[in-house]
Amino acid sequence: MQVTALKKSFGKTVVLRGIDLTVPDGKVIAVIGPSGSGKSTFLRCLDYLEKPDSGTIALDELVIRADQAHKKDVLALRRGTAMVFQQFNLFRGRTAKENVMEGLVQVKRLSEKEAGEAAEHYLNEVGLANRMNYYPRQLSGGQQQRVGIARALALEPKVILLDEPTSALDPEMIGEVLVVVGKQAKQGKTMLIVSHEMDFVREIADEVVFLDNGLVLEQGPPRDLFINPAHERTRQFLARVFQSFDYVI
């Protein structure tokens, strides 16, 4: 996936000032940055949940120019990607299994039987083999998010977009979600993840992108960016984020 000069404003507020980013196949790219820097908006633009104002998004041979995007292209982009949401965004009227099956039956046109088998496989993959027939409200936050991840995985997207997948979770549930995401990362899934879990990012990301004020300020392997950031702004941010650990030590 390749993004070029992506811009987005809400009214007079400019959120993205022209973002360039490449997500190579099989790599995990993490986007970090202070709140309000446009991380979530950026990710949502890539799935056209927000309509970018200008720029291009390329997913393999599909190239979308924001100013002349057709419905058909948007659909193709959405079908090539999958999103894991901060608030899980499960279909509340459907069980875990039905949540995963929905896209397979409606979008991928699999038969109920094939979709059911795939759903079972992916729910098993995220450790929910014994929660297949539970409704979202019968599941804990961590379990709901794992259903969300299974739903994304089942579509076999080219890129998985994860929008702060652990931000809405109780601390004790963050671990189970990170384990699941980490496992997929190690299996070579292509991912673009917005996260505040710096230790996790450091462990699984091939590249870390620091977003500030709607621009990519710096980008590099986590080792370099975390230990030796090039910009003062990045340094400040990291210092603030890692501050809490000083107290522990």
């Binding site: 799935d47 056209y48 949940l49 659909l75 959405r78 079908r79 990607t81 999958a82 999103m83 949401f85 608030q87 899980f88 965004n89 499960l90 279909f91 509340r92 009227g93 459907r94 069980t95 929905e102 896209g103 409606q106 979008v107 995220v126 450790g127 929910l128 083999a129 014994n130 929660r131 027939n133 539970y134 409704y135 409200r137 019968q138 961590g142 379990q143 794992r146 739903r151 579509l155 671990g175 189970e176 384990v179 699941v180 980490g182 496992k183």
Partner: protein, 255 residues
Amino acid sequence: MGKLFDFDFMVDAFPRILRYLPVTLEITFIAMIIGLVLGLAIALSEIHNIPVLKQLGQGYVAFIRGTPLMVLIYLTYFGIPLMLEGLNRQFGTAFNTNSIPPLVYAFVALGLNDAAFNSVAIRSAIEAVDKREIEAAHSIGMTALQTFKRVIAPQALIIAVPNLGNQIIGLIKGTSLAFTVSVIDIMASARIQGSRGMRFIEVYIDVAVIYWVVCFFTGKLALLIERRLRRSELTTPEEDEDPDDNIMKMYERNI
């Protein structure tokens, strides 16, 4: 001096009035269909901000809201023949305005009235659907139509059912005005029975009882439908065979 209240007359008239219940139910049913279809169309044109249609819909709702049902019935009763006559003169068509069955006016007037109020109930229900689920539907690549059918409509229906149930009850009671355009429903039949024996309170009690019972069961039915639609929200967590949720095994594998 005659009796103050003729109980036997009331009992005798009851089955004769009840015989016309199917007419009342028919008007209710057809007006309900008109009201739901047109109401949905108005609601959708407003939600999707379709130019012209949206303004027409809003104007329509404002007009109906300010028109008493009685007046609306007369407007259709005298307006439809006038319109058809106009078409005849303009385009040489041959509508026979005298052959329109009175029931048609009842369908149209009550349907049009119901549509305006339904559109408000339907619009607010659709707008109350969780935006996050709509985003999820988009993100898995559903088309707008699929999203509507699979996500928006089922949820909006749950929200709308109590209001639509109220509308239908209002509609049932509204049918009692259909006698004014010479439809013979339970109300008209009560009036006929009353004039025949020159006893009125008796037949109006009969007809009131019929309306009460019909409205009561309609309300119950709406509640039942709502419960049924909500069953995914009402089920309690099942007994857990394996409380240790196998994520723990994954942890172990990872460590």
